[in-house]
Symmetry: C2
Subunit: 339 residues, 2 copies
DNA sequence: CTGTTAGCGCCTTCAC
DNA sequence: GTGAAGGCGCTAACAG
């Protein structure tokens, strides 16, 4: 019965109506009497009608589609964010196109073009690590396409950011250790060209100074988000003259490496050394009950960013001011650690 | 200079050409002389032209878009698959629309409609757990939209599946334990209405029988993919008259619960009890060096499924036969476990 | 309340 | 090798 590609014209013909009336009926326009709507709707389902969004979007120049650009979908933090984005978008009747930059500037550029070609109504993105220059984003503004950044701060005037309060997270993580009685707290830092790691580091220093502990350069160990770093850092750390009794790791991968190395070398966690690590991956939550984690609220960030973007899309006229939303990450203590 | 919404007509006007020539030039048609192409292309970039895919797709009734339906994006296995899908699709010039069913049949139904409305060229899906009835998928076939299932087998004639060899994985996991010297191996099973868990269970039984070990119903513990199950099962398991010396868990969440419970009750892993668990999440790879894992090749599945789908889309005429691709999962031993 | 008309931007016959 | 014309399916004026 129902066949390939039924259009509003087919319905109109079958009902001796005009296609515009059918269109209005299907869009629940107040300018069509209820009875007509019922008839049209019944016929439409009977004939297996499927609205063609392409045509509709073309006509309305509104696609109800948003583009999402993340460095890598399979990183748990980003997939959580996407999950939140999809949910909020779905509820609002929006479709989501997902792209991954793989941290490559060129891919990012090409993706922007693709999304423009798809005529998305807005874009949510976490800028790639390689990106230092933002010219490729100007076209979006020129076309009136809304853009909201999440997770990775991007300082372009008039654009909104949805971020995690890394300074505060670093501060809380470190203070947590201090309150547990730690006196010599090491810091495994991340790449210092990234704001998030800089801020966590600042939070660490601030907590130390607030509690009257000295900041020692020797206790700061760089790391490149590899387990190997965690192992090597731990090795050096055990060789220090003053024994360390706490570690705040700005990234969980290094924390994992550290835990593996330390435990296999007879160090008890958290009795000898307490550790707090960020959890970008669900890994941390189970790797060791002794690891206290700072959880990144991916889903919430996704929802907040999407809600903001949709607000900007719909209120495009009296353009919303750019704003920065700061989400709190939450410290989750797995075990009453330490002393 | 470049402004809002440049169309091929604008380019044509600026060049004293016809829009059709511009269109052909931009599509690199052989029916346009090279010189013209160069001029058009130059002007296009100069004016900041962006092809409108909506219009193009509408005209060609081909969107170069594929829809993906997964139960939940943030589950690591699925985000890996999506990652693979996105990569392969991107290379082939396709855009990917992601949707999550959240295991709900109604959402799945609605998503199918949305994707049809978006006129996707094909769909990749992992059917929701709630879905028992496949009528809502018939429209796809009726509209000639290609469909490939992945991970969760779906037995509808003429549709392809890309799956993991669960029987073999279950077999290998169990055999691994046997070869390590285990004599009493428990099995934490998953929901038996799902093929994958049934097959892992079968693999378990087959390994036992192959090696002359008795199958004992009492050693099979149901689980619903919750840590809690793992804990409860472990509790029961410790109370058995014959001590268990190995566990093959069909899902890693239960395995994690088990490890937490067992280690906190003084059981040494793998010395007392060796464990092999599936790793849907990266969790397992680090939770305990003693946990041997069976890794699900998400990215590879995504790539294979996409490649297959694209082949079906492009060779639509002499329709490809439905096929089933079986991917091997690989057992990763974290430590020379046991005895 | 419903019909008429026009066009969103592109591609594709068909002419020349 | 290029131009002219028409239409993909839908919606938004403008009528009546």
């Amino acid at each position: 019965m129902q066949n390939n590609k039924v259009t509003i014209h087919d319905i109109a013909k079958a009902l001796n109506l005009d296609s515009s009336t059918v269109s209005r009926a299907l869009n629940d326009s107040p300018r069509v009497i209820q009875k007509t709507k019922d008839i049209v709707l019944a016929k439409a389902t009977e004939m297996g009608y499927q609205r063609n969004h392409l045509a509709s979007s073309l006509r309305k120049s509104k696609t109800n589609t948003i583009g999402v650009i993340v460095p890598r979908i399979s990183r748990h933090f980003f997939s959580s964010v996407i999950s939140g984005i999809e949910e909020t978008a779905y509820e609002a009747g929006y479709t989501v196109i997902i792209c991954q930059s793989l941290e490559q500037f060129n891919r990012e550029k090409k993706i922007i073009n693709t999304l423009m070609g798809q005529r998305v109504d807005g874009v949510l993105m976490s800028i790639s690590m390689e990106t230092k220059d933002y010219k490729h984003l100007e076209v979006l503004k020129k076309q009136g396409i809304q853009l909201v950044f999440f997770d990775r701060h991007c300082d372009i005037p008039n654009y909104s950011n949805v971020l995690i309060d890394d300074f505060n997270s670093g501060f809380e993580a470190t203070e947590h250790l201090i309150l547990k009685g730690c006196k010599h707290i090491a810091h495994f830092s991340g790449p210092q060209n990234l704001e998030i790691y800089k801020n966590r580091f600042k939070g660490y220093k601030h907590a130390l100074s607030k509690h009257g502990l000295p900041f020692e350069e020797a206790l700061v160990f760089p790391s490149k988000l590899m387990e190997e770093d965690g192992r090597k850092n731990s090795e050096k750390l055990l060789a220090l003259p003053n024994p360390v009794d706490g570690i705040f790791s700005a990234n969980d991968v290094a924390a994992i490496g550290a835990i593996k190395y330390l435990t296999s070398n007879g160090v008890k966690i958290p009795e000898d050394i307490a550790i707090v690590g960020f959890s970008n991956e669900p890994i941390s939550t189970v790797i060791n009950p002794a690891l206290t984690t700072i959880n990144q609220p991916g889903i919430e960030i996704g929802k907040a960013a999407t809600a903001l973007l949709l607000r900007q899309i719909t209120k495009e006229n009296d353009a919303l001011d750019a704003q920065t939303i700061i989400m709190d990450s939450n410290l989750i203590e797995r075990q009453s650690s330490k002393k």
